[in-house]
Symmetry: C2
């Protein structure tokens, strides 16, 4: 991890308005002064399960995974966060320690705001607190939705979904570098590494995708959509 010294104003940040639109100059100044920018390399752990939650994190560049290790030592990925996401928003007000770990999947730039300052601003600015509440609602809706989706689907549907997710929500391209190992894909979808590989190979044989190591190209999005929907 490296702390960035040439901090730009958060006002120039494309994500500024997403959350901080309601702040007045004074409040904004407080937040900005309580802010640090941190760089992480692929693979670095940003927060470890059990650490005290003492800052609000949001992602400016890169990609991170939230994950948890079970008592067999096996990891389970809870979600993938992309730039603009408020990584730990759901956790910061609970006054508990991290229930999961966070690690960088790509080289990542994270903004870290001291929690006490954020809490002060929430309690002082009613519009801001409503904004935060709304954001939290939206994040949990996504979790509920993704859980609902997963519970209906079997392996092919889940793999199709994750491929479409990366192409459409993350990279906005039909060719992309898969930022996860095959094992991590399995950890995200609750399937084994072997089955992940087999299903990807099957998709390749069926002409749905092209694979070259980590590079994946979607060849038939329509059929993938169909597999995604029908399970």
């Amino acid at each position: 991890m490296k702390i960035k010294n040439d901090i730009l104003s958060c006002k120039t940040c494309v994500y500024h308005q997403l959350l901080f639109g309601e702040l007045n100059d004074f409040e904004y100044k407080l937040v900005n002064e309580a802010r640090t920018e941190m760089l992480f390399k692929r693979g670095e752990v940003i927060k470890e399960e059990g650490e005290t939650v003492n800052s609000f994190l949001y992602l400016r560049r890169g990609l991170v995974k939230l994950y948890k290790t079970d008592h067999h030592g096996k990891d389970h990925i809870l979600s993938i966060n992309k730039p603009g996401d408020f990584v730990n928003l759901l956790a910061i007000f609970s006054e508990k320690n991290y229930q999961y770990s966070i690690a960088a999947l790509e080289d990542t730039l994270v903004c870290d705001v001291k929690l006490e300052v954020l809490k002060y601003v929430v309690s002082a600015n009613g519009d801001f607190s409503l904004r935060v509440l709304k954001k939290m609602s939206q994040i949990s809706e996504e979790i509920i939705e993704s859980r609902f989706e997963q519970s209906q689907k079997q392996v092919k549907g889940r793999i199709a979904q994750i491929l479409l997710f990366f192409a459409e929500n993350i990279y906005h391209k039909e060719v992309f570098q898969l930022p996860l190992t095959r094992r991590e894909v399995g950890e995200l979808l609750s399937i084994t590494t072997e089955n992940t590989i087999r299903t990807l190979s099957e998709f390749r044989k069926d002409g749905l995708i092209d694979i070259e190591g980590k590079t994946i190209q979607l060849l038939d999005k329509e059929r993938l959509e169909n597999i995604n929907i029908t399970g």
Copy 2:
């Protein structure tokens, strides 16, 4: 559904302090005047997926399920809520319609507070908004945790978990009336009805539980715990 006319003061409610502890007299009066008490019989739908979210609900007596229907017409239960739970808290600030339905599993008493009033109080009272945020964090932690648990377990572990859940978290007894049909248990755990029944029968044969229709008695909690943990 029946609207109750003999509304007692919310101050006497055992759950009052859980959320409304920070309110001053004026704010409390506002909330109390915006409040309705509603009775639902087992099976009645309280909210239907797609309805506008215009009130905050909390459960004073009974038990409800939150569920969603997939495009095959199959229901999936997202969670079970018990007295003291803020049924739709995660949803109310998103400004979207209900993403799920809510139905009573037992005869149920629900408090319904007009949303606009709650929002006003949140924006006016900083301590109260922090309280709400904390509660939301806790609820989503539970969802994340339960999702993590489920993803590791197979059928026996899930059934053991749900039996322990009802005994320990809901009824605080080792003998209880299962408030769900076998099918609903399956809908909650993402397994088929047949498999639910088979696993329960197996537990009975193994002397873990006793079954008599809907009445279930846990005979060997230690072994059930073990099955729950080891999956």
